[in-house]
């Protein structure tokens, strides 16, 4: 490998490192920002994957009964007590936000910046509504149910730790996503000339920027699918 056949450009040390990484080779034929977003999402997959498998291990090992999420997250609406209803509404809100985001990406791809920005702002509003409902849910659990990260009156002490860590980290992602989408939408509305369709000079186009933001948002929705199934329904 490292014999005399090396080309004159292959220097060693820090310069070699820079030369290798700046070599004109690309494996993924997508805009660089999109590839980087996928790399980030892949790492985030591992973060949530490890949270969920840690939760699985904790739930399998506990000798005390696990609190029934169906009852813990039930809400009294009028005369009926509906199991898990708030979580179901949150799920529908997040899926709707994913739908509006997908259409925003579509319109941005067609060059319809105003519609794309409007749909992104709608997505951000739905995301904010999701975080609001989550804040309500946390308040209810902490204040009226007495659930703490170190224990709770319903059963296994690990329930609180798992719940607050997993949903808290997901909620943080949604909150960051709301800020991110708003930023991209505002920038889309105040379109600068350099943001337009550009040659391969390293700048991302409007459509790419929206698509990359969309990938992040859909990922947040994707994670919720797994949290909904494993934490709330299991």
């Amino acid at each position: 490998m490292s014999d005399s056949t090396s080309s004159p450009t292959s220097s060693s040390g820090v310069y070699g490192l820079a030369a290798d990484w700046s070599g004109d080779r690309e494996a993924f034929k997508v805009p660089w920002g999109k590839a980087m977003m996928w790399v980030f999402l892949l790492s985030d997959t591992f973060v949530f994957g490890i949270f969920l498998s840690g939760y699985m291990a904790v739930r399998m090992t506990t000798a005390e009964p696990w609190p029934n999420p169906s009852e813990v997250f039930a809400l009294q609406l009028g005369a009926t007590r509906l199991p898990l209803i708030l979580i179901a509404i949150m799920t529908f809100v997040l899926i709707s936000s994913s739908g509006t985001m997908a259409m925003a990406v579509n319109f941005a791809g067609r060059g319809d910046r105003v519609r794309a920005a409007a749909l992104m702002l709608a997505t951000a509003a739905l995301g904010a509504a999701f975080v609001g409902m989550q804040a309500f849910e946390w308040t209810k659990l902490i204040v009226s149910e007495g659930i703490r990260p170190w224990g709770n009156p319903l059963g296994a002490a690990q329930f609180g730790a798992c719940f607050f860590m997993i949903t808290g980290f997901h909620g943080l992602h949604v909150s960051v996503g709301v800020i991110y989408l708003t930023t991209v939408a505002v920038r889309l509305l105040g379109h600068r000339h350099s943001d337009g369709p550009s040659p391969d000079n390293g700048h991302l186009r409007d459509a790419d920027r929206v698509e990359i933001a969309g990938l992040y948002w859909h990922f947040v929705d994707l994670v919720w699918v797994f949290i909904f199934a494993f934490f709330y329904l299991w």
């Binding site: 997508v30 892949l42 529908f92 997908a102 791809g109 859909h218 994707l222």
Partner: protein, 118 residues
């Protein structure tokens, strides 16, 4: 650069509706208190289809080149190894806890083998 990923808006609306139906189904599993193996099967099936729809259509994975799809989908399979190992270990710990940390009500009455404790 050609941007070859333009699909009619109707496609997204259809997937959106499908995701709604799947979510409603998984909620109904809980609402009707389906229990046992059927519950886990239904939950996992709906979860899998929802995740597949979001990743393939909304995140456009269905139209990406194979190099990118492989780079995204294969590494998370490592998590299956982790989950398997954690599950095996958890099973052992649970058994150990059942043996050594008997619940206060049962402790002192009978041991694990049903015989009175000394």
């Amino acid at each position: 650069m050609t941007h070859g990923q333009q699909h009619p808006v109707g496609l997204y609306l259809k997937i959106w509706g499908l995701l709604f139906v799947l979510s409603a189904c998984s909620y109904l599993v809980d609402y009707f208190h389906v229990q046992g193996a059927l519950r886990w099967t239904l939950i996992l099936t709906f979860m899998f289809y929802k995740a597949a729809l979001i990743a393939s259509v909304f995140m456009h994975l269905a139209w990406e080149r194979l190099a990118l799809v492989c780079a995204i989908l294969i590494p998370p399979l490592c998590l299956l190894v982790l989950v398997t190992m954690m599950a095996l270990e958890a099973d052992y710990i649970h058994t150990a806890r059942g043996t050594y940390f008997v619940a206060p009500a049962a402790a002192g009455v009978t041991g694990k083998d049903g015989a009175p404790r000394p």
